[in-house]
Subunit: 168 residues, 2 copies
DNA sequence: AATTAATTGAAAATTATTCTCAATTAGTTT
DNA sequence: AAACTAATTGAGAATAATTTTCAATTAATT
């Protein structure tokens, strides 16, 4: 089961390490084959990294982590495979401003994102009230809701402090 | 094909050249001064272009359009000014995938979109309650909210009926 | 084991955007 | 209106993220 840890007052989401999926090599192979691709060591390691590692990682970060376990890995392979995974919806890509894209294994449980416009930090949240209101809006216009994208953008606490420090 | 239902008698942004705002040089100067900047020919021409031209233009497109009226304009000036306008919220930046950012003069009235996944029909809506809840979420995580994207996807009434007709 | 088509790493290429810097210009002061 | 000064400019170099190229390697098939 996917377990989303929503720490109240979590200060530094960059550092949170969580295991959201409990996937084995068998699952990874299945995912790769479902996309009509060949099973390779590098693809398995990338998936392993996504499943076990920090949540919203950039391609560069995946490359660096993966490079430890598998030093002959090239970053082009990481980019290529992340793109494929995104196209097939196994991975969700979050983009903000000109900052590097961040990736996560598509969670089974829905959540939305709160992204820092300055440093790209991402906080996940769930809000049942908002979900309900969305349903109401859809109903009002005669729509049967299938999905939605809600991305909030703002300045995180750290970046707010940094700005003030510079001003002084 | 795709039908856009717009609250205030606006036309389809994709197809028509529309004047969302009816702004004069006086307004442009005011905008520039409000940002604490000097009024220059290039800034006026850029604003004019944004106000009169197509909606959702890229920086390159702005540069090309502007270049006709004002050939000595450099693209760095366009980028620089668009950034300033965005920072000051006179312009809204929309980013999609790795594609170049698109810009539009920030509409006076904020709205979100409800899109039919079958026929592409778009309904614009406003919901103050959702907005408020978004603020609350941001606050809870220590963020200072700057903007957001909310896109609802579903099946519109017509398409629901069409599906049922086919099934029968 | 032989075959072949996909995959890989390394480096080059590309794309969007930002930065640098000397020359110009807007707005102010005289 | 001329002088002043700090902001703005254009051109091109620089940067950063991502994609492409291509020859060598490897997974899956025969």
């Amino acid at each position: 089961m996917s377990e989303v840890i929503l720490a109240e007052g979590l200060q530094n989401p960059e550092e949170q390490v969580l295991k959201r999926e409990n996937l084995t090599e068998k699952d990874f192979k299945k995912i790769i084959r479902q996309m009509g691709l060949k099973v390779t060591q590098q693809r398995l390691v990338i998936l392993e990294t996504l499943a076990e590692g920090r949540v919203h990682v950039t391609a560069q970060e995946v490359f660096e982590i993966v490079n430890d376990k598998f030093p002959e890995m090239g970053f082009a392979t990481v980019y290529r495979f992340l793109r494929k995974l995104t196209e097939n919806n196994f991975v969700t890509e979050v983009r903000m401003g000109g900052l590097p894209a961040r990736y996560e294994l598509t969670p089974k449980r829905h959540h939305d994102h709160l992204t820092c416009v300055q440093c790209g930090k991402i906080v996940e949240f769930e809000n049942q009230e908002i979900e309900k209101l969305q349903e109401q809006v859809a109903k009002k216009f005669g729509f049967e809701l299938t999905n939605h994208v809600l991305e909030l953008y703002g300045k995180c606490r750290d970046c707010q402090l940094n700005s003030k420090r510079k001003e002084a």
